[in-house]
């Protein structure tokens, strides 16, 4: 039978936004359950390449975090950031395993639960409970750890949007598209209020990818794209952003003329990348890295450490690993057992591709500077765990593609 038949029967008139725990029409031959008999079969189809790529990138990231944070005192190298990041990676791997345990299709009806939690957290973070750093109210301070709910909200929204869109007939009517956009708009509005333009843009990328693959009519996509461009221009032109935020966004347009601090930062980033040359200056030998000349290097600008110390060889290897990872996600989207799986993978793919392009692009001066982490590489628990959860979702789809 066709496994891409619509899972949703419009005649039943049950609307997803009500989050009704309705029994879905089961078309599968066998029921899958939490620890059911299908589970062993599913493990045989785990995409090891995805895990290996994500693991290799994480390891490279941890190494570069050490390089950029250990300081200049040879008698007392600082390994705080390294051990934290290793801990985050461990937590991320555990989260990934947990996500793969349960069949994503069984989880679909519960998609609203994390979504609601995420929205509540996003609302809380802009309340006095949250902590402001670098002009954005985006963190919860929990002991010495920070939780950035927007990072996790990205993955949660992907799953929520996917589970919503699969309920609509293809091609989608305008009102369903509007419903999907509303699900997106809630977290986006809260994130924009922090304000965190970078993560907002990631949501836009996710929405574009998922709506495209999800079966939205071409003319709707064109209208939405046009509206999005107008909105970006409008935001840049309005008072919504602080001056320095606007500077960060527009500095890449006049890199050689401006003398602002942002230009200096961008130049230092480009110098770090460019001076790496073919083979790099060697691990721990990057002067821009070792001497702390590139700002925010262990987080948003982690790529510059790798590019400086391991050169074009290293940065090409990293991009290669990312490319293989994305290829496997794209492949999983293609071979997914149902539309839900395809859409989840399309969302994760859009998220990763945009974040990689945006993050690396800003370090080399072809994209505006926005505070978007490089997946798996950048220092930060929320980002690392969210990335591994996203991989977990893809694995979940991949290993259950036959049933």
């Amino acid at each position: 039978m066709a496994d891409f038949a619509p899972d949703y029967d419009p005649s039943r008139r049950t609307y997803w936004p009500l989050f009704r725990l309705s029994p879905e029409p089961r078309t599968r031959r066998r029921e899958a359950n939490l620890f059911g008999k299908r589970t062993p079969a599913a493990w045989k189809h785990v995409d090891l390449l995805v895990v290996l790529c994500a693991g290799a990138i994480s390891a490279l990231g941890a190494l570069m975090i050490l390089s950029s944070t250990r300081g200049t005192d040879p008698d007392a190298y600082d390994t705080t950031y390294l051990s934290r990041q290793v801990l985050y990676i461990g937590m991320g791997v555990v989260a990934m395993v947990l996500v793969t345990l349960v069949d994503y299709r069984r989880l679909r009806d519960f998609a609203w639960v994390p979504y609601v939690i995420a929205v509540i957290l996003l609302a809380l973070v802009i309340s006095p409970v949250g902590t402001e750093r670098r002009g954005a109210q985006a963190w919860f301070q929990i002991g010495s750890f920070q939780l950035q709910p927007a990072e996790l909200a990205k993955v949660i929204t992907i799953f929520a949007l996917a589970s919503l869109l699969t309920r609509f007939q293809v091609p989608m009517a305008a009102r369903y598209v509007g419903l999907g956009l509303a699900v997106l708009a809630l977290p986006v509005a809260l994130i924009l209020a922090q304000p965190d333009l970078g993560t907002t843009l990631v949501f836009v990328a996710i929405a574009m990818g998922m709506l495209l693959v999800g079966g939205v009519k071409m003319r709707h996509i064109i209208v939405l794209t046009a509206a999005g461009l107008i909105a970006v221009v409008g935001v840049l032109d309005s008072d919504l952003l602080e001056d320095y935020q606007r500077d960060r966004l527009t500095v890449f347009l006049d890199q050689d003329t401006s003398l602002r601090e942002e230009t200096w930062n961008l130049n230092q980033s480009k110098i770090a990348v460019g001076s790496g040359g073919m083979m790099g200056k060697g691990l721990f030998e990057g002067t821009q890295t070792r001497l702390g000349i590139v700002p925010e290097q262990h987080t948003d600008f982690i790529f510059t450490a790798l590019a400086e110390e391991l050169g074009f060889a290293g940065s090409a290897t990293l991009l290669g690993l990312f490319a293989v990872l994305c290829l496997r996600i794209w492949r999983t989207a293609q071979i997914a057992g149902d539309r839900l799986g395809t859409l989840i993978c399309a969302g994760v793919l859009s998220m990763f591709v945009f974040q990689i392009f945006q993050n690396v692009g800003m370090t080399v001066g072809i994209m505006p500077i926005t505070g978007i982490p490089l997946p798996f590489m950048s220092y930060g628990g929320s980002s690392v765990i969210a990335s591994w959860v996203a991989v977990g979702l893809v694995l979940n789809v991949h290993m259950r593609r036959f049933g």
């Binding site: 496994d3 891409f4 079966g215 110098i271 790496g276 040359g277 994305c326 072809i366």
Partner: protein, 672 residues
């Protein structure tokens, strides 16, 4: 389960997503290739510039020695109190204020009064490098260093380091020759950078010292050491992380002068004594008071142009410049009431030469054929310019004496003005015959008159040999009475009056040229440059001939006879040389007494000896001191006494404090 049954639009759209992803990855690869492979060399340079700061370490300067190897300028270790700017900035605002107050108190207690505000101003001076401590007080007592070292925790960021500064074992002696060093100023920095470019072997930075005057300036390129360089790795805030490498500074080369410090000391002493005695003589016969405030003595070796002594008064103490001269001292040195002690009278003072000029005009008259060597002129005590209708048409001999029939020899010995008045007038009246408007002048300039001698010292004046053309130009520039050159002007010039000006060094060099038979040397002040450690000659400075004066033997003998008679009985310097053994050490010279409007006469004397093989040419000029034979000749005689060995030449006193002797110079006077 077959995937081929998937609806086509979804599959197509997934492909679109894939293509977008591929395009984005491809553009990243392209950009990385562009930055890391194509643009890499440029970025590597920028990364290196980010990382490395170069600190310049100034090298000690070479020493300055006299011709016998006596050290005239040395280096001495001095304690410099400095503040490390980056450490200072790490302190809190309150700590900084307290620190500066405490430091100001300690400096003041150590005899270097300074206020906290002054220290703060120094710290804020942009001229100091960020990576080297900012000097606050130089040359502080060793005891302050010990105190600061012992109380280091009370003075964070303050250092007391030893550094090399100039030391002058002979104090003020030869100050104008030696000159002084000081911190390079903007103008000098621009100049040296323009001349040497960026790849100079001894580059300058803002904190560096440079020779400001004297041989310190003219031989700067040798005296200056090769600066060292320390390359420091710095972090993003510019804080030093480690020293990458270091090149030690190389001291500069030593300079050996032609000066003999003993002769120099004696010349300065006798000049001062001569001035003192002239002052004590009170006033001239017409009542004009003697007020000798400035004077110069030049001792030159006529055989090669080497300057043995170059004394100028007033003078200054180069030690004032060692720790940076203060405003008060600088104001004193530049106050007209103190007669500009920084100016070296010997090369910068310009005076009418008076009768000492007659050597040159006598030569001119004979060479131009105006008056033969043996032609007799009847000196009736005065001369009336033919055809003259205005004032001062009749000129009288100084002192009003009539010398009767005189030839060239006798005219010089007795200093017959009438002889030279008439000579000058004839030069002008018959100028068509003798070579035009500048008939006389063209025989004067070969002696180096009217142009710089070229001595390697700063600020030399050129003197002046006036011409009708000069008079026209001068009257155009400055409103003056009469733009026309007249016979009276030639009459004036013939006896070294009027508009003619010479520097004491020019006068000495002209006489030295005559003494050696006509070779005009560039007066030489330095003999060689030698290695600081080994003493090996690095650069040998050879005598340089500036020109030759053609002196026919007969004429030279006549002029020499005339000059030789001057110190002998009947000559104008007979009194000064009374008792001098001229038979053992024959001397030829000429006195001069130059009139200055409203002031007492300038006393001039120029002489050389021994006549057969002249080794010493001495010229003495003293302002407002009356007769040359009375005030200046005794100074020269006293020096000849010592140089000829008739009395011992005393050693120059260490510290440079000259004590005027109680016995007077020979003071018997005579008219010239």
């Amino acid at each position: 389960m077959s995937q081929t049954k998937r609806t086509e639009p979804s599959r197509l759209r997934l492909s679109v997503l894939g293509i977008v992803a591929v395009a984005l990855f491809a553009s990243l690869f392209a950009r990385l290739y562009d930055l890391q492979i194509v643009g890499s060399p440029e970025f590597q340079l920028q990364a290196e510039a980010n990382r490395v700061r170069t600190v310049h370490i100034e090298a000690p300067r070479g020493r300055i020695l006299d011709r016998n190897g006596t050290v005239l300028v040395d280096n001495r270790v001095a304690v410099v109190v400095a503040i490390n700017r980056s450490e200072f900035e790490d302190l809190s605002r309150g700590e900084r204020g307290q620190l500066l107050e405490r430091l100001a108190v300690e400096l003041t207690r150590a005899g270097r009064p300074m206020s906290a505000t002054e220290i703060r101003e120094r710290l804020q001076d942009e001229r100091y490098s960020r990576y080297a401590p900012v000097p606050i007080a130089q040359d502080v007592p060793e005891s302050l260093k010990i105190y600061l070292d012992e109380h280091a925790e009370e003075f964070p960021s303050v250092t007391a380091e030893r550094t090399a500064v100039r030391e002058y074992p002979y104090g003020q002696l030869a100050a104008h020759i030696l000159g002084y060093v000081g911190q390079i100023n903007e103008e000098e920095l621009t100049y040296v950078q323009a001349v040497h470019g960026d790849d100079a072997p001894k580059p300058y930075t803002r904190n560096d010292h440079i020779g400001k005057a004297g041989v310190e300036r003219t031989y700067e390129q040798y005296l200056r050491g090769t600066p060292g360089e320390r390359r420091i790795e710095v972090d993003a805030e510019g804080n030093p992380v480690r020293v990458i490498d270091e090149r030690l500074p190389q001291p500069g080369d030593d300079l050996v002068l032609s000066i003999d410090i003993d002769i120099q000391a004696e010349a300065e002493l006798r000049l001062r004594q001569g001035m003192e005695e002239a002052r004590r003589r009170g006033a001239a016969s017409d009542g004009t008071p003697f007020d000798p405030n400035a004077g110069a003595v030049v001792v030159e070796d006529p055989r090669n142009g080497q300057v043995l002594a170059l004394a100028s008064y007033p003078t200054y103490d180069p030690r004032q410049f060692v720790d940076g001269i203060d405003q008060q001292e600088w104001a004193y040195l530049n106050d007209p009431a103190n007669h500009y002690p920084l100016n070296a009278i010997a090369i910068q003072g310009q005076y009418a030469p008076g009768s000492t000029f007659k050597l040159f005009t006598g030569y001119a008259g004979a060479m131009a054929g105006v008056r033969g060597i043996d032609d007799i002129y009847n000196d009736g005590g005065s001369y009336t310019i033919p055809g003259c209708t205005g004032l001062k048409c009749t000129r009288f001999n100084a002192g009003g004496n009539a010398y009767g029939p005189v030839d060239l020899r006798r005219a010089i010995t007795v200093s017959s003005d009438a002889y030279f008045y008439s000579l000058g007038a004839e030069f002008w009246i018959q100028r068509q015959r003798f070579g035009g408007d500048e008939a006389m002048q063209r025989w004067l300039t070969p002696w180096g008159l009217g142009s710089e001698t070229g001595i390697a010292l700063t600020g030399e004046a050129s003197g002046r040999v006036p011409t009708p053309q000069w008079r026209r130009d001068y009257c155009e520039a400055v409103q003056c009475g009469d733009p026309l050159w007249r016979a009276g002007d030639n009459v004036n010039m013939a006896i070294g009056q009027g508009d003619v000006l010479v520097t004491p060094l020019q006068l000495a060099n002209g006489y030295a040229t005559f003494a050696n038979g006509g070779t005009r040397y560039v007066p030489q002040i330095a003999l060689r440059v030698q290695d600081h450690d080994t003493g090996e000659t690095v650069v040998s400075i050879e005598p340089e001939v500036a020109g030759r004066v053609e002196i026919p033997g007969e004429l030279r003998q006549a002029l020499l006879d005339g000059l030789a008679g001057v110190p002998r009985p009947g000559g104008t310097a007979a009194g000064a040389f009374a008792g001098f053994p001229l038979d053992q050490f024959p001397i030829a010279g000429k006195t001069g007494t130059a009139q200055v409007d409203g002031k007492a006469d300038t006393a001039v004397f120029s002489a050389f000896g021994p006549i057969d093989d002249p080794r010493f040419q001495i010229s003495v000029v003293i302002e407002e001191a009356g007769f040359g034979g009375t005030s200046s000749a005794p100074v020269a005689r006293s020096l000849f006494d010592a140089l000829a060995g008739f009395r011992p030449l005393p050693e120059a006193p260490l510290g440079g404090d000259l004590v005027l002797p109680s016995e007077p110079l020979s003071t018997a006077g005579a008219y010239d």
